[in-house]
């Protein structure tokens, strides 16, 4: 067992893990942050995407011990402390960018990562950036719309109401 410490959603946390403990297991089982989901075992579906030191990472494809000392952001850290949804989260609701909600945390985290890198992505760039996030419900149409709308809002542009 190894003792690890990291910041998760701005809060210092620590725990004892095995070498084989995955970051997603640490988040879900040790910290009770069950918003990060597991949808596959081959690193493709992206339901487990979180940010590690500011970049999107698949939490099911990273060892918890490897995140020792890191700053981790999960879906639970995306809304304001008073519960106000972030711009991206609000856009997903506004544009019906989710149905069953299972892939949604990973989608939001990947979208946030994209918009950190590229404030003005094209539709094609949004679609390409979601290559590692599978949604089975929405057909992606409204997810893409939501991300484009969130980008526009973050740039300070007015977005037509739906």
């Amino acid at each position: 067992m190894t003792k690890i410490s990291m910041k998760v959603n701005g809060e210092a946390v620590s725990g004892e893990v095995e070498g084989r403990t995955l970051l997603v297991q640490f988040l879900r089982d040790h910290l009770g942050l069950t918003g990060t989901h597991v949808g596959c075992d081959t690193g493709q579906c992206g339901a487990c995407v979180v940010h590690v030191d500011g970049e999107s990472v698949k939490a099911c494809n990273m060892l918890a011990a490897a995140a020792d000392g890191a700053e981790v952001m999960t879906i639970e850290g995306m809304a304001a402390p008073d519960g106000t949804l972030s711009v991206i989260q609000a856009a997903f609701q506004e544009h019906h960018g989710l149905q069953c909600g299972f892939c949604t945390p990973g989608m939001v985290m990947s979208a946030a990562d994209l918009l950190n890198r590229n404030a003005n992505p094209s539709e094609a760039e949004v679609r390409a950036y979601l290559e590692g996030n599978i949604c089975r419900c929405t057909g992606y149409h409204n997810i893409v719309k939501a991300i484009l709308a969130a980008a526009a809002t973050l740039r300070g542009e007015a977005v037509a109401a739906e």
Binding site: V38, T42, E76, E94, C100, G101, C103, C135, V144
Partner: protein, 791 residues
Amino acid sequence: MPKDSGIGASIKRREDVRFLTGAGNYTDDINVAGQTYAYFLRSTVAHGKIVSVDTAAASKMPGVLRIFTGADFEAVGGLPCGWQITSRNGEVMKEPRHPILASGKVRHVGDPIAAVVAKSLAEARDAAEAIGVEIEELPAVVDMRAAISGAAPAVHDEAPDNLCYDWGFVEENREAVDAAIKSAHHVTTLELTNNRLVANPMEPRVAIGDFNRASGDSTLYTTSQNPHVIRLLMGAFVLGIPEHKLRVIAPDVGGGFGTKIFHYAEEAFCTFAAKALNKPVKWTADRSEAFITDAHGRDHVTKIELALDKDGKFLAIRTATLANMGAYLSTFAPSVPTWLHGTLMAGTYTTPLIYCNVKAVFTNTVPVDAYRGAGRPEATFQLERVIDKAAREMGIDPVEIRRRNFIPADAFPYQTPVAVAYDTGDYHATMDKLVEIADFAGFEARRAESAKRGKLRGLGLSSYIEACGIAPSNLVGQLGARAGLYESATVRVNAAGGIVVMTGSHSHGQGHETTFPQVIAEMFGCPEANVEIVHGDTGRGPMGMGTYGSRSIAVGGAAMVRAAEKIIAKAKRIASHLMEAAVEDVEFANGVFSVAGTDKKVDFGSVALAAYVPHNYPLESIEPGLEETAFYDPSNFTYPAGAYAAEVEVDPETGAVTLLAFSAADDFGNVINPMIVTGQVHGGIAQGIGQALLESAVYDANGQLLTGSYMDYAMPRADDLPMYAVDHSCQTPCTHNPLGVKGCGEAGAIGSPPALVNAVLDALNAGGIGVEHIDMPLSPSRVWAAIQSAK
């Protein structure tokens, strides 16, 4: 001006807030104090005799509580099948036992041989690897034609020819159909495969069994579309637990698409083991396990013949289908290729004579059952493909040939030759809308532009019909259904006016928590925020049948309306007392009861309060309280229909197909929440595109699944798909349910695959490459191979 409340308003979903903040409560998020973990040791061979299972050493490994084998389940029932089909010769289908853990034989890769329960999942898995299993491998049968050839090994001794049933429909039409085809001006024949799919909801299945020794109550948390059905099937047929001692909870469920309808062995196992060990037992599938245990979908091989007169009018249709059942009969498997398939073979057309033959076949593969559309996509695919082929053969425009055969708008209600009667529809209207939104007029210019870039552009269409909300129960009972197909709702108005609706419909992405309150808000004249929806818990609502077959609003919503009507009727009586007026003079509108021609009025909240604080109240004639339950059993299906178009570009050098545009014109009758309906269509379309271009579950000859992960099973991703043009402004309301609604959940998956395939074939043929058919998925390698063989 769009509405912002009630029926027809695109209200934003209230459930989104929890899903967007990580506060959803999916089954795997639930941890019961003291829980233990189950791991299933599964067969790695497709067919074999279990010679021995030695658990002695494994049982002594760290953390192991107990190892279960098939012998532990011999005294309980097998997994039941919910539909019995009768063959043409009058015999009932073969229905082999489906044990919870394999007994005697394993019949597909993934068949569970033993289950370890341990203190941790890792310990359970370690112990499972230490179990000594000796299996005498037997030859496997995978291909359906081989399976029924008489020379194949038998999956079950009870079905030596691997035939589950041989169904003919409509048997009385057979000779007339044969004669019509024999004498027709033109007959178009097509042999095709409807590819096997894996539903792949993003949340893998999970089950947690819990047992309370003090009360004797069992609780099962499970990823189900219909917890009441699981309670009934598992309680009554498998474990013998009466319903009052068994609670089934399906909390937030991460997508279903049919594969979470069925009762699975792991649910029964966890419930059984929790009682045996007096400890909670949790099982979470990983995706690899899901691929070899979740029921698959589709998997038909069909020959269809369409007879036409010289004007392209359809005279008769004859089909012969082999339908894969897999190794065991999943819960509703037998109904899919029969009553959910044969009854749809008229499509949107006036074809007078139809005969379908379906042979259901056992193979050493994962069981096959309903997947989004279930039988109806298979029907639509055959029909819309053979019509396109006939149009090409006869030199008739594909839109025109369909128009010549549409059931005219003034012919409704329309009795088809395949048992069902359509209540309403206007297929010319949806086709008109499609031609407009897909810009058929501008297509040739776009085709020419593609040609300049060396690409072959194609436009394909389809016209589909669906039958949703399968019913009525007494009729489907005659057809072999072993379940009722009603839905229930309890509407509870609390003393302070807040309303709770307990519905048997389950929401796993459909947004019921938002849409159902819209109906109540419309009826009661209250804000949606006053209404709460309770679902997914057998302990908190009346017996329900759950969500599948696009039935929630048409059946579950109708039950809620009936219960709400009872509430209004009772409330009127209370109001009449409060206003000292005759009940027949009381009117109710916008949340206020009034007496016609007077200024007397009382609001809904005051009536609710009076019902619970019955001081000024006619207790001798009206019971206190304001809570009503209704069970609604529809008199007919609903029949949404529409027309779809796909526009593609084919790269003739590589065979790669790029989907450029997809358009859908649907008729769903009245629409409660247009935003959500559009989203349902989007999702269905993406799954249909997935079937047409990407997805396929492939077994090798030994019964090994070659597409057992997302490394080989191609899921549609964002960059595979375009934005969709979706329109549901054509509305012919359903005449037999109180909301005038039709189902919308499966339409997209039904109408889209043939449109895609027709588009690719249009691209190739217009480009001078004569290809009559390519089986789905139209992967680059298949399209390239077809191009090569046409050269």
